[in-house]
């Protein structure tokens, strides 16, 4: 398929435009369901549609820019934003974003490959894929372990707090109290997290995906405050990233707009899904999708290695590997989104059938309900 403007932008057909809307829809459903960004499926999804990795990241950041703004406004209205935490995170996040943009742009300009998937940016694609695999393997495995591990019934079903407790004992002054989150955290840990989140956001557009669980698991921030504060930070960090990538010429607004068409609608459906599905199942589905996305990216890595002449195998394998990568990714996305839709439809039908209030008279002495 011919590329436009020096292998930067894909030629848009009805088929790939529809695929992008569907990708947005799937991403939106999963995003609304898992309560985190869905760049983990959108970025590789776009790469599977032959969008260069760096353009996929830039366009995804532009797509999320407006969403973050609206989400942050909603959360701020509900009192879920700890502005002190967000601003401190943002200080280093902006630095992280800028470092990531610089590295991604430099690697893309180094080129590599012969105009296959992702154009000539095989080096950049490989770099993005490796970061993606490294981070999301860790996050996905952690979430999966937390979802399936047997729990003491007294503990309830909340997220594990072992890491947060461990970090809170580290003697790293100065510590700062964050009033909305009601936590006391070392300033250095906050700045470090901001840097990492910014870097990951700028590299793969998955900063929020790491930032929210990190705040919950590492700092012990309540889930709603973690989401609200991250969105508030991402509103500025994401905007900065999108503008920086646009300056470098790596944002395809057509893709951003097509993703948006599906994702906003998907978020509504996904958010509804969380109300009717058990929390453990939410975590299980989200972590499974993430790990499948990792597998999908891992399958594509040999292609980039071959394009960079770092690995040698028959060229005939390339279409198979790329096809397998795409198939796994879309199976994960469509399967996950389908599962959410299944539960939503099931719950809606049940709600129609069931008379929700059970009026039960006081049971008889033998325990039977009269």
């Amino acid at each position: 398929m011919p590329m436009l403007f020096g292998d930067l932008f894909i030629h848009l057909t009805w088929a790939n435009a529809l695929a992008l809307v569907l990708l947005g829809l799937v991403g939106g459903v999963i995003s609304g369901f898992a309560g985190s960004g869905a760049a983990f499926i959108m970025t590789p999804g776009m790469m599977n549609l032959r969008v260069p990795g760096v353009v996929a990241v830039g366009s995804n950041m532009a797509h999320r820019f407006g969403n973050n703004m609206m989400g942050a406004k909603r959360h701020a209205g509900l009192g879920n934003v700890d502005k002190r935490l967000s601003i401190l995170l943002l200080v280093t996040a902006l630095i992280g974003v800028q470092i990531a943009v610089w590295i991604n742009s430099a690697l893309f300009k180094m080129g590599g490959g012969e105009g296959h998937e992702g154009g000539g940016g095989a080096m950049s694609n490989l770099y993005i894929s490796l970061i993606f695999i490294g981070v999301l393997t860790f996050v996905g495995a952690f979430m999966l372990r937390d979802a399936v591990r047997p729990r003491d019934s007294k503990e309830g079903s909340g997220p594990s707090m072992k890491l947060a407790n461990m970090l809170s004992r580290l003697p790293l002054p100065p510590t700062i109290h964050f009033p909305v989150a009601d936590v006391r955290i070392s300033l250095w840990l906050v700045l470090l997290l901001g840097l990492v989140v910014g870097f990951l956001d700028g590299t793969v557009a998955i900063g929020g995906f790491l930032g929210v669980p990190a705040m919950i698991y590492l700092f012990g921030v309540p889930t709603t405050v973690a989401t609200g504060s991250e969105l508030f930070m991402a509103m500025f960090g994401g905007a900065w990233g999108a503008i920086s990538y646009a300056y470098q010429g790596f944002v395809d607004l057509r893709l951003s707009c097509l993703l948006l068409l599906g994702s906003l609608m998907g978020v509504y459906i996904g958010a509804y899904g969380t109300k009717v599905v058990k929390e453990v199942l939410v975590r299980l589905v989200a972590s499974s999708i993430i790990l499948l996305c990792v597998v999908s990216r891992a399958v594509a890595v040999p292609v980039y290695l071959r394009q960079l002449h770092l690995l040698h195998f028959s060229e005939g394998w390339e279409p198979w590997l790329k096809g397998a990568s795409t198939a796994i990714l879309f199976a994960a996305g469509v399967g996950g989104a389908g599962l959410v839709l299944f539960y939503v439809v099931k719950a809606t039908l049940e709600r129609r059938k069931v008379h929700a209030t059970l009026l039960v008279r006081k049971p008889a002495a033998d325990g039977r309900v009269s």
Partner: protein
Amino acid sequence: MPIVFVSGVPFGGGERLAKELARKLGYAFLDREEVVARANESGIPVGKLEVALVKKPAVQERMVRLRDRYLAVATATICEKAAAGNLVYYGRAGHHLLPGVGHVLRVRVVPEPARRLETVMERLRLPREKAEKFIRDVDEDIRAWVRFVHDVDMEDLQKYDLVVNLEKLSLENAAAALCTIAELPDFRPTPASQAAMQERLLRARARIKLALDERTADADLTVRSNEGVLTITYVPRQAQLAPVIPEVLGDLPGCREIRCTMASTNILWIQEAFRPDSGTYREVNELARRWGAAVELLQYRAGGEGGEVVPVEVAPAAALKAGTGGVEDDLPETAAGTADRSFEQTLEALVQEGRSGGGHMVAGGRERLVGAISRSVPYSLVVVGDLFLDKSPAARTRMTRELAMFLADHVKAPVLSTADLPSKLHLGKGEALKAAAAGILVVLIYGAIFFRQEGLLSVLGGEAHKAAPWLASLLVALLAPVVSLLYGNLLASAMKWLKMD
């Protein structure tokens, strides 16, 4: 005679004063240690919870669940002991466990600092500096605990009836003075306050039973009661609990009826007089149907203008009509007069619709109203209906608006007046026009993007970009949020029009 709650700090003389008072009055004595022991027997690791609160960086959901259970055990222990006779309780602001109960005397003991320091140095064999640090730390921990458990500042003296400063007053004389005050008619039990205590006991027992049964131990349930009718609300993902809850609560003393309501969320409807055939009822019910919400009724009778708390005389006949909210919420004086038939009819209508979240009443100032709203129930909306019915229409409108604004500042949920409710339900003309305009703009923007691809891509990464890269940044900075905003508003309006919001 009242239940006397004495609040103090360790080594401050409060416990000795409470014991002396109990001896003089001939009342039973109960202290926090006994409550903690019972909580531990019920599987609540109170010590660990306290340590966790001090050491851990944040209040976690798990801790909140344990806190609610601890509150239930503490409430049940105190109510059971008080029901058997008179009681003096010594602890940390324990009166907040029974805020809806009128026959409570709330006493704060302020220690004499030098004497307290000496006591700590002597009993714990600590040097002066360490003893001072110990006192500072323990006081801070207790304040944190009270804030966590009751969501109040223990040092707020407005929360007490009496403050006893032991700097000059001896323990014996302080106890003698308290004896006199305890016998004043202001603190005598009334049928209403006794009924309120029974409701609290019922809810506490229900909460404990639900917590101890492994089938319901981890469920997110809200517990409400009114005149012996327990309303348990569970979320749709725990739909399998519907038949289990009555089994668990089957033999609960004092329980006339158990109602289980499935709800994704809760709508709180505050009004002075409810009617099931009113327009507001239909609108609230319609909203609840769309959201899968339970509707909780709060009958509010303002006791004073501008937030003044005006005590309300409770008629004995109203005693059995009094009702309050959940166990975890500490409600203030509840008996607001007689529960009129229309309130019950409205509640009954909600039960029949499958959307009852229970109902209760409160009278007094705005602070009391806020205190009556449970902080552990996740409300999606608070609807403020017709209030201040004895005022002129203009004053009523102003006062209702002011109350709604006050609530918006104090409740973590959007607050709407009934006048604004239709806009939440229906797509009004103005909104439809805005949505249409947004739709047209979205189509124009998408059209421009997709029918002028070459030009756009040139700006984003082609020849034009080489000449002026900042133009691409500007385009993204403007277009990305604008498209999101327009398309987001269009979708929201469409969902509302389809009644799927």
